[in-house]
Assembly symmetry: C2
Homo-oligomer: 298 residues x 2
């Protein structure tokens, strides 16, 4: 998604899919085409971009990123993009971090200066707003909530994952867990609904609606693991609001949000829970947040 932002307002948007094959050059070509299409008169004075991984602070370098094709080494995406779009300044941030920044300024988190944005889709990522500012950290790693440990005894257990949140709450690992339990002899309609393809978010919703016990259990585990990680974050850094977004949670809807919020309340230390609000900006959030990153640096 590319957006053109003028005075804090989105005046144009263009959606393009990230290439699934090729390498960094193909990804950059796609971005350049999106930029040219959303801003044909080249009016923008700077470009902000959100990328799926921790960015080396103070640079536009995205190290090896497993979710991007051929991205197996450091790539200075900031410099490469700047060269392609008339030497404009380019600011690069983590996609979930900047999505949280957008929710803070224009979405579900307006007016709350200490919040956690959690986005569950293929994987699970987060952004932290502390005292009104996006926390990026000295290594650009802040917000990697998917890699927090919610089940510390699983590190060496046989079975999928090491006990990290993302082992329970991401779409990839939900599918991996389902395959694991099927291999152990359990039955489910999940794979029938998916019709042989990947298990998309809607499949989980449909399987639950059909009363499938495994889908119910795995999605309940996802909610519990998310609530545990959120309760931990509240206790550790003291945030007052959780913004919950991402393709999986959007599809699972209000039932899932309430399930997470109820368990968060049960887990909260000393009556210091936080409401869980659904993210409001959908898939424009990341692009808008990247633009905000430019503003914040200006």
């Amino acid at each position: 998604m590319a957006v053109l932002v003028v005075d804090g307002e989105i005046v144009a948007k263009v959606k393009k899919s990230t290439p699934r094959e090729g390498g960094p050059g193909d990804v950059i070509n796609t971005i350049v085409r999106a930029v040219e299409k959303v801003d044909p008169d080249a009016t923008a004075v700077a470009l902000g971009i959100g990328v799926p991984g921790p960015v080396v602070p103070g640079t536009g370098v995205l190290p090896a990123a497993p979710n991007l094709p051929g991205w197996d080494h450091d790539v200075d995406i900031g410099r490469l993009l700047s060269e392609r779009i008339g030497a404009l300044p380019v600011v690069v941030g983590n996609d979930v971090n900047v999505g949280t920044l957008a929710e803070h300024r224009y979405g579900a988190g307006v007016g709350v200066d200490n919040l956690l944005g959690v986005f569950a889709g293929t994987g699970v990522g987060a952004g932290l707003i502390l005292d009104g500012r996006l926390r990026q950290g000295p290594r650009g790693m802040a917000g990697e909530i998917g890699h927090t440990f919610v089940a510390f005894r699983d590190l060496h257990l046989e079975g999928p994952g090491r006990g990290e949140l993302e082992d329970y709450a991401g779409r990839n690992s939900l599918e991996r867990r389902a395959r694991h339990f099927v291999a152990k002899g359990e039955s489910t309609v999940i794979f029938d609904i998916a019709g042989g393809g990947r298990i998309k978010s809607r499949v989980w919703k449909e399987a639950i609606d059909a009363g499938d016990a495994m889908a119910r259990r795995l999605v309940d585990d996802a909610a519990s693991a998310l609530a545990a990680a959120m309760a931990s974050t509240i206790a550790l850094v003291d945030v007052e609001l959780i913004v919950l977004g991402g393709g999986l949670t959007e599809r699972l809807g209000e039932d899932f949000r309430r399930r997470v919020e109820d368990e968060l309340l049960e887990r909260a230390f000393a009556d210091t829970s936080a409401p869980v609000r659904s993210a409001r900006l959908g898939d424009t959030g990341g692009a808008l947040g990247a633009a905000l990153l430019v503003e914040d640096l200006a």
Copy 2:
């Protein structure tokens, strides 16, 4: 512990035990006596104090604190103390937070602007230094790492605890776990070594040295749970150093520190581990940190 600090140097110190009976008035009397003894000429221009619990931000109010006698309601310890010591300004902070601040300025964390201090004694607490500043949070709760969830499935399990770090790594819960397993028929020398009293830190060390399997297992669990919570903190907020202190870890010594550090390395996301250094200031850290809190506000 009370210290008199002049130009960042400790020029006098006095140690007094916190009363185990009575109420807030008795605790305050003890503090006043310590202040009068450490600063008999009343030269101090302000008083900083660290208390075992989250402090209401911008106030000197310590809500119900289970570790203090009769402290079952909000007490404005800042105001009460100020009235007793000639109306000096009093700044109140969480004891573990200010201990971490002291390690950052004068101890194991000098020169590192993003660090986590973890202190394991009776319970487990922490402090966060982010971009060189102590994180306290809008509700004064930051650093409550003992209440982060490391075993999310334990919430409703039969057995001690709800799956929080403090259920594994604090001295109170180590003892509770040992009693639980003894009640289930396991054997151990822990209670023999303790001779009928509470299980102090030295008991765990002696039981391990004597080859006691339960002591080894429970202390290993403590190390694993600590390493998991530390890895989670690195991923979530991006800190570059862990400072490990507290009575229990001091007594368990270098073996324990190395055990935690090794497992942290194994758990770290994408090669972004952090060294684990032993705290250097011992039991003067809290008092020194409280004095630093005064300086920071000045």
